[in-house]
């Protein structure tokens, strides 16, 4: 029986290849972040996240409180709104360390999505009301963009907000609304008028989730868990103060928001943790009589993913640090989105395959059934499949990989036309 295979925290004195590429001040900064996260993330949370389960709301709230006290909830925001003033590379290192230490994900809906829209296009009252509550972790947001008939073709959306003089009257339906059942507020796109193009006449609203007329229905996803929802709006009154920016300009705000979304989703830190976990699984798991760590096919698969991950990391560093190369600045986010989805999915697939027969189930009964015959600690085999299954979404959300390919083709193939 191999013991103590739970993933250990990265040691402060052990540098990896990314450190070789950073300068002294960034290495020192990385050490500071690690030091903080060591105590900020409770062991139980870390263990659950390592198993492949997503953080509960109370785990996220507890972590946000710690980040909030440190002022680290939304590093990318301008300092005047509560950002840290870090360089892009500091943020890159910070994000890596979050994943590498199995910290609960900071919900992106407030910090990465609606926050930047509000401080860029919102009025003073909106900034004063909403931004501090995102930073303190008091407000959870959800995103009301996709509709049953409008997925990749988002601009075809039909939810309508009718101007009734002192308020807008909202009717329609949103779908794939992650964490709507946790959310205090929603930002959404709704049609307030018609234009020559379908992108015209769309407006961007913010709304409290306890407003009468909002109904949430869970969507159980293929990992058999509940994070997605349908949200129905029936004669919901949006106060006029809920309109962000100008009526009819919502599409440009949404594009701004989605552009931000693509740069924040490489999940490199989590991938690194997965590589480290796979190395530990390889000590306990077997292919027939051969330990996985002596199996050439496994090692080669892992080596290939590791090389891919290094290329992704450096591509992100390039994107963050090259100001001059504007051609790459346009395509870089789509490159990262596509490739990071592929790498995350490849890692989850390898994880499931590395667990052999013990990837098949989940939950206490499964653990009990397997514990006696497996050298693998529960931390590995319970939940790997959940992560694999939900990970199929990485190439779907934030603009599917096919949408990214179209963006890339427009930028790199159509320039001669």
């Amino acid at each position: 029986m191999v013991k103590n295979l739970e993933y250990r925290q990265p040691r402060d004195d052990v540098w990896d290849h990314i450190d070789l590429l950073l300068d002294d001040s960034l290495r020192a900064f990385r050490g500071e972040v690690r030091q903080f996260l060591r105590t900020a993330v409770p062991d139980e949370t870390r263990a659950r996240l390592d198993m492949g389960y997503s953080a509960t709301k109370s785990e996220v709230v507890a972590f946000l409180k710690k980040l909030s006290a440190k002022g680290w909830v939304a590093p990318a925001w301008p300092v005047e709104y509560g950002g840290t003033g870090w360089s892009q590379l500091q943020r890159f290192v910070y994000t890596i360390e979050l994943g590498n230490n199995a910290a609960p994900s900071v919900p992106p809906f407030g910090t990465a999505m609606v926050g930047p829209v509000l401080y860029t296009f919102g009025n003073q009252d909106q900034k004063d009301l909403y931004l501090p509550r995102i930073l303190s972790g008091e407000d959870f947001w959800c995103q009301g963009f996709s509709e049953p008939g409008s997925g990749s073709d988002l601009a075809s959306l039909k939810t309508r907000a009718e101007d009734k003089g002192d308020h807008y009257l909202l009717n329609g339906q949103k779908i794939w609304t992650s964490k709507a059942h946790y959310a205090d507020r929603i930002f959404l796109l709704a049609r307030t008028g018609e234009g020559a193009r379908k992108q015209e006449g769309i407006s961007f609203f913010v709304l409290d989730m306890d407003t009468p007329g909002i109904e949430i229905k869970p969507i159980i996803s293929i990992d058999m868990s509940h994070s997605l929802n349908e949200v129905f709006f029936t004669d919901v009154k949006i106060p006029k103060t809920g309109l962000v920016g100008e009526a009819g300009k919502g599409w440009s705000y949404a594009k701004f928001l989605l552009g931000n979304e693509r740069t924040g989703i490489t999940n490199i830190g989590r991938c690194r943790r997965q590589v480290a976990r796979l190395k530990r699984i390889a000590r306990a798991s077997h292919v027939g009589d051969t330990p996985l760590c002596a199996d050439q096919a496994f090692l080669r698969d892992l080596a290939r993913i590791e090389a891919d991950l290094t290329a992704l990391e450096i591509t992100e560093i390039r994107l963050l640090s090259t100001g001059r190369d504007s051609a790459f600045a346009n395509v870089g986010p789509s490159v990262l989105k596509l490739k990071s989805a592929e790498i995350q999915q490849a890692l989850a697939e390898l994880m499931v395959s590395a667990l052999g027969p013990f990837a098949a189930g989940r939950g206490p009964q499964f653990v009990e059934a397997v514990e006696d015959v497996s050298d693998l600690p529960q931390v590995f085999f319970d939940g790997a499949l959940a992560e694999y299954l939900f990970g199929r979404a990485t190439s779907i959300y934030g603009g599917t990989n096919e949408i990214q390919r179209e963006i890339l083709a427009k930028a790199t193939l159509d320039t001669l036309q």
């Binding site: 892992l302 090389a307 290329a311 560093i317 090259t322 390919r405 890339l408 001669l416």
Partner: protein, 375 residues
């Protein structure tokens, strides 16, 4: 210097890039096809622009620059698919010579373009074992053995030979030395290659440039710079293959519209664009690692693996996207495909690079297990 500084090219680097782009821009397709693997006037033109001395010290007539600038030139060579042995002589051999501390007199000829060195038994192809044996000789040493693949041709003036073993040595011999024979052949991309056979080849003391650890060190440094340059060469080749394919997809009409309007082809093109960017990232990292790190091998092996994969994927896709025309020798795209194949071979292939990474991962897993067992 950190990697971040490395990503911001100096003004000097930009000048080198501009001058290299102008130089290769003037190389015509017909000139390439007529040059039979080596054009003396092109080699002299590179010398005039400082290509051969990019890594050499000022005193030897060089530019005194580093792997990043050498990579800019290798990129240009790949982009224009120049068949001349720029990497072999001006990067691999020169780095070994320089690291071994040879005199200015030796370097000056190489920098000026009048001497063209062929590395034998080290450098490229990356990862080819050195099969040469050394026997003591009254005048110095005697070398024997066969190196099956070297970048050597009629233009070669000097061999730079590395013999490994209990007493490794780095030696320089003229191309007409007794005891050396060459079986010439051609690379699939037109470059001159050959098998070098040494049969009791006597190397006088004066020809031995370095021994022992100094020789190994010179060769290791040269190999790191070689990987970085070949990676950049591959990215230049990939970029040009993408340019040719983009032009073709926009010009060629089928079903009454340009091929560039068909989604299946657009997505394939997008995918190889991603490959190109990943390869570019790895090439940037490789030139930084070669120049800066004491032990760049773990990073260089990843770079080789990823760039070979990109070269293969891009090469195949660009032929496919050219349809039947991609199968013709008449179109330039096939020539770039062949250069990518050759570069993968010189880089030691994805498989060879991953094998080293796999072994390293296995060792890391073992080391962690032992460390924890000891605790």
């Amino acid at each position: 210097m950190s990697f971040l500084d490395h990503l911001m090219p100096s003004d000097e680097a930009e000048m080198i890039r501009d001058s290299a782009t102008r130089f290769t821009g003037a190389v015509s397709e017909s000139a390439l096809r007529q040059s039979d693997g080596f054009a003396a006037e092109r080699w002299a033109g590179m010398a005039d622009l400082g290509w051969h001395g990019v890594l050499a010290d000022d005193a030897a007539g060089g530019l005194g620059l580093g792997a990043a600038e050498a990579a800019i030139l290798a990129y240009a060579a790949g982009h224009a698919r120049l068949p001349e042995p720029f990497v072999a002589s001006s990067v691999t051999a020169l780095t070994a010579l320089r690291t071994a501390g040879v005199g200015i007199d030796v370097l000056a000829g190489l920098v000026a373009g009048s001497r063209i060195f062929a590395p034998v038994g080290f450098g490229l192809p990356v990862g080819l074992a050195t099969p040469l044996s050394v026997a003591p000789d009254k005048e110095g040493a005697s070398l024997s053995g066969t190196v099956p693949l070297c970048e050597v041709g009629p233009h070669t003036t000097d061999f730079l030979i590395f013999a490994d073993g209990p007493e490794p040595m780095l030696a320089r011999l003229p191309s007409v030395a007794d005891g050396i024979s060459i079986a010439p052949y051609r690379g699939i991309d037109g470059r001159h290659l050959g098998k070098v056979h040494l049969d009791d080849c006597t190397v006088g003391d004066e020809a031995i440039l370095a021994r022992g650890a100094a020789a190994r060190n010179a060769v290791a440094k040269a190999e790191a710079f070689t990987v970085a340059a070949l990676c950049a060469d591959a990215v230049g080749t990939i970029d040009k293959a993408l340019v040719l394919t983009r032009t073709y997809l926009n010009e060629r009409q089928q079903f009454g519209r340009p091929l560039a309007s068909f989604q299946a082809l657009r997505h394939r093109f997008a995918d190889i664009g991603v490959e190109a960017e990943l390869a570019r990232s790895m090439a940037e990292m490789a030139s930084f690692a070669a120049q800066t790190l004491a032990d760049p091998a773990p990073l260089l092996d990843r770079a080789r693996a990823r760039i070979c994969r990109a070269a293969q994927t891009v090469g195949q896709a660009t032929i496919q996207l050219h349809g039947g025309m991609g199968m013709t020798d008449e179109m330039a795209i096939g020539h770039y495909f062949r250069r990518l194949i050759c570069l993968q071979a010189l880089l030691g292939q994805e498989a060879g690079s991953l094998r080293l990474r796999s072994a390293a991962l296995a060792a890391e897993i073992d080391a962690e297990a032992s460390l924890e067992a000891a605790q």
